[in-house]
């Protein structure tokens, strides 16, 4: 009876601990998702900036090619 009571309490503690861990994992997952979303948006913004500034960036490359083509 004594051992059974202890086992019961142990199961309850285990359940509570597991629930706490699950909550912590959910919070961490949300944090990760938010961070990933933020970083992805940042990458896409940089991509837009890079694509918009390609005209000036590729100018030197075009000049180099034209020199090689002697035109």
């Amino acid at each position: 009876m004594f051992v059974g009571k202890h086992n019961h309490k142990l199961q309850i503690h285990k359940k509570i601990h597991k629930e706490i861990l699950e909550i912590e994992l959910d919070i961490s997952q949300k944090y990760i998702d938010n961070l990933l979303d933020k970083l992805t948006k940042d990458i896409l913004n940089k991509k837009e900036i890079a694509l918009n500034s390609l005209d000036t960036v590729t100018q030197s490359l075009c000049t180099e090619i034209e020199d090689k083509l002697s035109i």
Binding site: H6, K14, E22, I43, A50, L54, I65, I71
Partner: protein, 179 residues
């Protein structure tokens, strides 16, 4: 009731209660003789009665002592069992605590692994996205440069067939270098 009334009447006639010192009149000798006879006759009977009573009392005391000893033994046994129960209780408590620690540690380790996996997935997704964007930008740069070069070449060389062939050959070479 009449006798009761007569007592008060006699008391009133003799003017109060007084001590009668006349031995013969009070019958003291008779009483003493009666007592002596009683003691003489009843000595054996009283002796045996008292001996029986003494034996009973001794037996009762011995029984009480035996019961006391038995009770002391049972008390000692109970205390011993209590001590053993305390030891077992302490052992069970310690074992339970250890089991609890192990179970909670296992859960914590599992959660740590889950978290690590989730971070790894997030990092992999981010790197994949970076590579995709990098590839798109690279592709866009190549396309833009080639278009510009083609336009510039067409403007320079015109529609001459040899020039077109030369341009295509050069562009193919450049494309291979760029990619």
């Amino acid at each position: 009731m009449e006798n009761f009334d007569q007592i008060f009447t006699l008391l009133a006639e003799h003017e109060g209660i007084s001590l009668n010192l006349d031995i013969l009149e009070t019958g003291l000798l008779n009483i003493l003789a009666l007592l002596a006879i009683l003691i003489y006759v009843g000595r054996d009977f009283l002796g045996s009665l008292l001996e029986t009573r003494q034996a009973e009392i001794i037996t009762a005391v011995q029984d009480a002592e035996e019961r006391l000893n038995e009770a002391n033994k049972r008390l000692a046994e109970a205390q011993k069992q209590l001590t053993q129960a305390d030891v077992i209780f302490a052992q069970i408590k310690e074992e339970t605590l250890n089991t609890k620690k192990l179970l909670l540690k296992a859960d914590s380790d599992q959660s740590r692994k889950d978290l690590s996996t989730r971070f790894s997935r997030a990092i992999a997704a981010l790197r994949s996205k970076e590579l995709q964007v990098y590839s798109e930008i690279k592709k866009q740069i190549i396309t833009l440069v080639l278009k510009r070069t083609v336009i510039r070449a067409q403007e320079t060389f015109g529609p001459k067939p040899r020039a077109i062939a030369l341009i295509n050959e050069t562009i193919n070479k450049l494309e291979g270098e760029l990619l």
